[in-house]
Amino acid sequence: MGVQEYIVLAVLAAAIIYLALRFTKKNSGCGDDCNCH
C-alpha cells in the first residue's frame, strides 16, 4: 500500500469514528422522553 492508500484509509477511519461517536453520544435531559415536558 502506498502513501495515498494510507491517507484514504485514515480519512475513512476518521469518518467512521466520527459517525460512531455521533451515534453513541450520551444524551442527557430533554429532547428525549424525559419527564420535563
Binding site: 484514504v8 467512521i16 466520527y18 455521533r22
Partner: protein
C-alpha cells in the same frame, strides 16, 4: 480587567428582545445549545466603556416564570441557580409599550428573585400613534427600578440602556411584593422547613409545570412541621399571586402610564380583521404560501445549478490536475461531492428562512398560526406546524429546523416525525423519471395522466403526514398541555438586520451540524462504491475488455470508461450488497441494480437517478437517454423491468420512505437523540415497503 458583567435579556415573546440583543452585540454573537437540550442559547459581547465589558444572554421569550415549555424553563433555571455559570449580575426585562401591563407581570416576578432588574420599554416610537404617554421618573420610583425608553426600530434609547447598565451597582435588587401575602401560614411553614432558601424561589420550584434538571431532590427529615398542599390548592395560590401582582402593577401604572385610545389610529385593527377573516384569511394565506414556494423554487434553482456545476468542475479539475490515484478519487468523488451535497441545500434553506423571517418580523405569521390552529389540533398538530409542513415541500431539512417555533414538545415532535412525508424537491427527479417511464401520455378531461399522477403524489405525501400525525398523537405517551396563547404583535415593516441575522444563523447551523454528518457518510459510501474484494473487481478492466471483444463492440473512450465504472460498481462492496438485498427488493419488482440505487439514494433521494445513470452506463446529463435505456432493461424472462407495477411500486416507495440521511442528521440534532430518527426511519421504511409490495403484487 475584571470578568465581564453578565447581563440577561428576558421578556415576553414579540417584544423586540432579539432586536435589542442584536443592537447591543452586533455580530459578536455565539449561538449554541443549552447543555443536554436543543433550546438555542444565544450569547454576545458588548462593551460599556474601556473598563466594563459585558456578556449578554438572550434568554428564551416567556410570559411569566410559571413555565409551560422547555424554552421557558431554561430561563427560570438560570435565574434560580446562583451557581449556574450563566447566572446574571443584572437582568434586563424587555417590555413593549402597548402591552406594558401584561409585560410587567414577568418584571415583578424577576424582581422578587432579588436580582438587579432594569426595565426596557421598547417600541416607544409607537407611543404617539397608540395614544400613550409615559412619565419615566414617576414610573421608575413606583416600580423601584431604572427604565430605558427604547425604539429598536428607530435605533433610539440603546445608549440610555448602556448608561444605566454601566451604573448597574445603583440598581435596586429589592422585591416588588411581599410573597408571604399569598398565604402567610404556608410561607411561614416553608421558612421553618427551609430556613436558608428564599421563599419565592422555593415557591417557584414547587409550582412549576416542568421539572428542573439541576435541582437536587432531598427527603425532608422532619415533615411534621411542613404541611403540603394539593395541586388544586397550589393552583389557587398561584391565582392569588397573579391577582396580587396585577394590583401592584395597576397601582404603579396609575400615574406614570396614560393611554388615550381616542388619539390612536386604527389601521392595525382593519388589517387584523382582513388577515384573520374566516374565508379571506385562508385565501390570502394560501396565495402568500404558493407565491413563497414558487419564489423559493425559482430563486434557488439558479444558485443551485451554479453550485452543482461548480462542484462538478471542481471534481473534474482535481481529477485532471492531481496525479491519478485513490487519494485523488477520494477528493474528487468523495469529499468534494460530499461538500457539494451539503452546500447545494444552502440556497433553499437561506431563501426559506428569508421568507419565514420576513413573515414573522412583519407580524403576519402570528395571524397564520391563529388561523390554522383550529384545523390542525384534531391531528395532534399545532397551528405552528403549518409552516414546517409547507416548507417540507422544498426540503425536509429546513422544515425540521422550522419546528423550533412550536413550544409544545409533543406537537413539535409529531411535526418533526411527519414532516418527511411531504413531497420534497429531491423526490422530484425520481418521480419525473419513473412517471415518464411507466405512466402513459394520454389525457383525462383535458388533464395529462402524468401531471395528475405527480399532483396525486404531492397530495399523498400531505395526507400521509396528517394521518401519521393523528396516529402518533394517540400513540405517543407524552403529556400535552393543551392551551393556546398567541401574541398578536402589531403589523410593522420587517427589519433588515434581524432578517439577515436569522438567515445567516440558520444556514450556518445547518452547514456546521448536519453538514459534518453528510460529509462523513459520503466518504463511507464513496469507499464502499469504489472498492471491492472480489477478483472480478480487481481485474475489472481486463474482464470488461474481454467482454467487449467477445461481443465485437467498438466503443469510444467515454463509453468504455462508463462501461468499466458500471462493471466496477456491480462488483464493489455496494454492488455485492445490492445482490445480497435482491431477495428483499425482488417482491417489490426491483432487480439488484434498483436495489443499489435505493441504497445509495439513502445519501439523498436524487442520487437514485444518478446511480441508475451510472449503472446503465449513460451520462447523467441526458435524461432522455436514461429513460430510453431504462425502458429497454429486461429481466431474465425478457419482460421490461420498468413496467406499470414496478413503476408504481418505486413511486410509492419514494413517497413514503425516509431515504435521506441529511434529514436523519437534522432530526437527530433537533431531538437531541438517535431514538426519534431511528423510529422515524423504521416506521417510514416499513410503510414504504408494505405499500410498494401491495402495489406491485396487485398490479403485476
Amino acid at each position: 480587567m475584571s470578568s465581564p458583567l453578565k447581563v440577561a435579556l428576558i421578556g415576553n415573546p414579540n417584544t423586540g428582545k432579539t432586536s435589542i440583543f442584536n443592537a447591543l452585540t452586533g455580530l459578536r454573537q455565539k449561538v449554541g445549545n443549552y447543555p443536554g437540550i436543543t433550546v438555542e442559547k444565544k450569547t454576545g459581547a458588548c462593551s460599556f466603556g474601556p473598563d466594563l465589558n459585558a456578556t449578554i444572554y438572550d434568554l428564551p421569550g416567556t410570559y411569566s416564570l410559571n413555565t409551560t415549555s422547555l424554552d421557558e424553563s431554561v430561563a427560570v433555571e438560570i435565574l434560580l441557580n446562583r451557581r449556574d455559570p450563566d447566572f446574571p449580575d443584572v437582568v434586563v426585562v424587555i417590555a413593549e409599550v402597548e402591552n406594558l401591563k401584561r409585560n410587567l407581570l414577568l418584571f415583578t416576578q424577576i424582581k422578587d428573585l432579588g436580582l438587579r432588574t432594569i426595565l426596557v420599554i421598547n417600541m416607544s416610537d409607537r407611543m404617539k400613534r397608540l395614544g400613550i404617554e409615559i412619565d419615566v421618573p414617576s414610573l421608575e420610583s413606583s416600580l423601584d427600578t431604572r427604565i430605558a425608553l427604547l425604539s429598536s426600530r428607530n435605533d433610539t434609547g440603546i445608549e440610555d440602556l448602556k448608561a444605566i447598565l454601566s451604573d448597574y451597582k445603583s440598581i435596586s435588587d429589592q422585591p416588588s411584593l411581599d410573597i408571604t401575602d399569598i398565604d402567610k401560614a404556608y410561607f411561614e411553614n416553608l421558612k421553618t422547613t427551609f430556613p436558608k432558601i428564599d421563599g419565592y424561589k422555593l415557591w417557584l420550584a414547587i409550582t412549576q409545570d416542568v421539572n428542573f434538571m439541576p435541582i437536587e431532590k432531598k427527603v425532608i427529615p422532619d415533615r411534621s412541621a411542613f404541611s403540603t398542599k394539593s395541586k388544586a390548592e397550589l393552583q389557587k395560590m398561584q391565582h392569588r399571586e397573579t391577582v396580587l401582582r396585577y394590583k401592584y402593577i395597576n397601582n404603579a401604572l396609575k400615574e406614570g402610564y396614560q393611554k388615550d385610545l381616542s388619539k390612536a389610529d386604527g389601521i392595525q385593527g382593519v388589517l387584523d380583521r382582513i388577515f384573520t377573516h374566516k374565508i379571506f384569511g385562508y385565501l390570502i394565506f394560501f396565495v402568500i404560501l404558493f407565491t413563497m414556494f414558487q419564489a423559493i423554487f425559482d430563486f434557488s434553482s439558479y444558485p443551485m445549478d451554479a453550485i452543482d456545476h461548480f462542484f462538478a468542475s471542481a471534481s473534474e479539475w482535481i481529477k485532471a490536475t492531481l496525479p491519478s490515484g485513490v487519494l485523488t478519487d477520494l477528493l474528487a468523488e468523495g469529499i468534494v461531492a460530499g461538500i457539494g451535497g451539503v452546500v447545494i441545500f444552502i440556497p433553499q434553506i437561506a431563501f426559506l428562512f428569508l421568507f419565514i423571517s420576513i413573515l414573522e418580523e412583519s407580524g403576519y405569521m402570528s395571524r397564520v398560526v391563529f388561523l390554522m390552529d383550529r384545523i390542525m389540533k384534531p391531528f395532534g398538530l399545532s397551528g405552528k406546524s403549518v409552516v414546517p409542513l409547507m416548507s417540507g415541500m422544498a426540503c425536509a431539512i429546513p422544515a425540521v429546523m422550522a419546528t423550533r417555533t412550536i413550544e409544545n414538545w409533543k406537537e413539535r415532535l409529531i411535526t418533526i416525525m411527519v414532516v418527511p412525508f411531504t413531497t420534497c424537491s429531491a423526490r422530484l427527479p425520481v418521480y419525473l423519471i419513473i412517471i415518464a417511464l411507466v405512466i402513459p401520455e394520454g389525457r383525462f378531461l383535458g388533464l395529462g395522466y402524468q401531471a395528475l399522477v405527480l399532483t396525486g403524489l404531492y397530495l399523498l405525501g400531505f395526507l400521509a403526514a396528517v394521518v401519521a400525525a393523528a396516529i402518533l398523537n394517540r400513540g405517543l405517551n407524552i403529556e400535552r398541555r393543551s392551551f393556546f396563547m398567541i401574541e398578536m404583535p402589531t403589523f410593522k415593516p420587517p427589519q433588515f438586520r434581524n432578517v439577515a441575522i436569522t438567515v445567516f444563523e440558520k444556514t450556518k447551523s445547518f452547514v456546521l451540524e448536519a453538514g459534518k454528518i453528510i460529509l462523513a457518510l459520503s466518504v463511507v459510501i464513496w469507499f464502499l462504491g469504489s472498492n471491492g474484494y472480489s477478483d472480478s473487481f480487481k481485474n475489472a478492466e481486463a474482464e470488461v475488455i474481454q467482454q467487449i471483444q467477445q461481443q465485437g463492440l467498438n466503443l469510444s473512450d467515454d463509453e468504455l470508461s462508463q462501461k468499466l465504472s458500471s462493471y466496477k460498481l456491480e462488483h464493489s462492496y455496494i454492488g455485492v450488497l445490492g445482490k445480497i438485498i435482491e431477495p428483499v427488493v425482488k417482491p417489490l419488482g426491483y432487480d439488484w441494480k434498483i436495489g443499489i440505487a435505493v441504497i445509495t439514494s439513502f445519501a439523498a433521494r436524487e442520487v437514485f437517478v444518478g446511480t441508475l445513470a451510472t449503472i446503465y452506463s449513460v451520462g447523467e446529463e441526458s435524461e432522455s437517454t436514461i429513460v430510453g435505456r431504462m425502458a429497454l432493461e429486461t429481466d431474465e424472462l425478457g419482460k421490461p423491468i420498468f413496467n406499470l407495477a414496478s413503476g408504481v411500486s418505486i413511486l410509492l416507495f419514494y413517497a413514503f420512505a425516509m431515504q435521506c440521511m441529511s434529514t436523519i442528521a437534522v432530526v437527530r440534532k433537533e431531538t437531541n437523540s438517535w431514538k426519534w430518527p431511528m423510529i422515524q426511519l423504521g416506521y417510514m421504511t416499513l410503510l414504504a415497503y408494505l405499500s410498494a409490495l401491495i402495489a406491485y403484487q396487485t398490479l403485476i
